[in-house]
Each structure stands twice: as C-alpha cells, then as structure tokens.
Amino acid sequence: SRQRRAENLKEAPATPPYNLSEYFKQFLFPQNECELHNFRLSFSQLKWDKWIIAPHRYSPQYCKGDCPRVVGHRYGSPVHTMVQNIIYEKLDSSVPKPSCVPAEYSPLSVLTIEPDGSIVYKEYEDMIATKCTCR
C-alpha cells in the first residue's frame, strides 16, 4: 500500500496551497446574500416638492441579494421557502427561487398641500423597509 500511495501522489497534480477560509466561505453563505440596502431620495428629484412640504428627504430602503439554500432559520422564513427551493432545484425550474423581500416596515409622516389649497399632515403605514426575508 505504501508503494501504491507513492504512485498516486506522483500522478496527482500538485494543487496550489488553498486558503481554507476562502474555501469554506462558499458553503457558509453566498457572496451577495439577501440584505437591506440604503436608498435616499428627495421629493425635489421627483418634482413633487411643490406639494410635498415635508420631509425633504425620504429613505425607503430596499432588499436585494440571493437567498441561500437553507434559509429556514436565517431569515425567519417559513418552511415553505425551503420547499419552494427544492421544487425549483429538483422538480420544476420554472417555479421561481425564493425572493429577497422586505419583512418589516416603519411608517412615514408627510406634510402636503392638497389641490384645494388646504394643508394636511398624514402618517402613512409601511413606507420604509426595515428588515428583509426570503419568501
């Protein structure tokens, strides 16, 4: 067996020394994993600042990135997400992979001038994404 091992070694090409942590990284999580991204806009960019008095700037944020295969416990995703992933991988690739979407929001207060010239302060639900999930 010693002789056979020596022969095998001779055949096997010398593999470059691997950086182990890089190697394992590809299994731990995908590079551009699903997460919350910043986005700030000002209503003057949309030319709405004639009737939206406040706030001047607004950060709705957004979710972007790949959903790792085993998402059950990472994003508070329901088990259905893993089922959908298995369907996509093993049964029918026309079924979409789970998507990276907002899971929680916070409200926004807006001060606007109405078409009749009256002024209204309003608090709207779900205007700023605060957390992401895979669904």
Binding site: L46, W51, I113, P115, G117, V120, E123
Partner: protein, 299 residues
Amino acid sequence: SPHSRVVSDKISGLLVAPEDNVSELHPLLRLPKGARRGYALLPPLLKVLSDRGDQNWESEAPRLQPESRALRYMKRLYKMSATKEGIPKANKSHLYNTVRLFTPCSECKHRHRDLMKGDVHSVDLLFNLDRVTALEHLLKSVLLYSFDTSVPISSSITCTCHLSVKEHDFSSQVCPSVSHSIAFSLHFELRKRKWAEIDVTSFLRPLIATNRRNIHMAVNVTCLMGDPQQNTKLENAINMALVPPSLLLYLNDTSEQAYHRWNSLRHRRKNPVRPRQRNSPLVDPMSDKGKENSQGKRA
C-alpha cells in the same frame, strides 16, 4: 393578429377611457368597482405612487396656495409630530394620524368698533371640507386665530367669542338658515405665541359626523387686554388685526394605508422582536437560537 389588435385597442381605451366606456370592455379588463372607488378615495401621495410616479403631477398640483401663516403653523406641527427623517414620534398623547388645516374659502367681514365694549370683530366664514374622507374620524377641531398685534408680548388677553353655525336646511322649500350658536370667553397669555386656539369640537362633531362638507359659521370675537381674574380693569381694546381664523381638524384615519399607533403597539406585543444577539461563532446557526438575519452572523 386582428384579435390582439382589438384587445390592445381595448386596453388603450381602458387607460384613457372615461368611466362610461368601461362597460364595453371585456369583463376581465374592467377594474372591480371597489378598486375604482378606492382609487378615487386615495390621498394624493398614494395616487401619484399608484400612477408609478411618472404622471405629471402638475395637473394635481395645488390650484390655491395656502397662506404663509397657515403653512408656518403646520410646519411647526410637523416638527412636533415627526423626526427629521419623517418618522412619527411615539408620544402617547398624540392619537391623531391626520391633521387638516382649512382656510375659509370666502368670508364677508362685518367690522364695527365700539371702544367701550372692545374691538368687536365679526366675520362670516365658509369652510369646504370635501377633502375629509369618510374613513377619517374627528378627534378634535379648533379655530386657529393668529394675531397681528402691536400688543406688548407679555400682556394677557381676554376674548369673548360668539360662534354660530348656519345650516341651510335644504329639505324645506323656504330653506331657512338654521343656526346653532354658542358664546364663550377664553383667556390666554399672548407670549411668544402668535396663535390662539378656540376648541369647537363639540360644536362641529355632529356636522362632520353627518357628512356636512360645507360649514358656514359666523364668529364674533371681542378681545380686551388684562385678566378678569385679577379684576384689572379691562382697558381699552387691543387694536389688533385679527386674521380670519383657519379651521384645524385632528382626525383618526381608519384606512389601511394610514399608520395606526395602537395597531403597531399591538403588533409589537404579538410578535415581539427577538433581542438581536450577535451570533457567537460557537452558536449553531441552524439551531433555533440562530433565528436571525444572516447579516448578524456575517458581522
């Protein structure tokens, strides 16, 4: 194919068709009734967002510009109610999620001076409340007076207000104007404030609850300097130019899109956000304890 051309003509018709053409459309292309009505009810911000924002909003841009005082007051209210980023402040007392300020659409001023009784300022005001939706319930309503006065800031002022609402009773032929009226006096210190709020909630609630959208009011205000409690002789009238008052409505919008504090409190109670402990590398990410966004793990 001719068929698809017909369909595409119908779709383009839908986009620009006035209401009455909708009936010719293929049932699948017709917006459900609720959606059409719902769309009409949407506040301007949501309308423009549902039009993908590319709609040139000039058409809906305010035709009338509000008064600068009214604008200043509402900006001050915004600063008290929300942070710079526009997040509503979580103070318990503030139950409203909507505040509307209306300036009178027309007023005929009767101004007469009777120095002995002070400077009587009476004015007929008409407020059009069409923007108040059926889902917005009145919490509080005030008449907002701003003072242009040469009165020294620290003085105290006593005002007597006589308020009457004229309802045109359209049911009868003669349409007499039924009027409810109340008189009350209020005393306030005119310090830095340039505003006086006269609470008219109990007065207006029945009108707004019955969907009256045109409120016709006659307001007489007599203001004198001094404080009746300290029985200082109410000296001569304040020569102040009372700007016709605005009407402020604090409302609770019960629609889906509006932010409901009590709801968010209840929501938070129902599924409390798990404390965001940073996962130590020793914790097995797949165990129940690892339930959290992988950002935490990555960090």
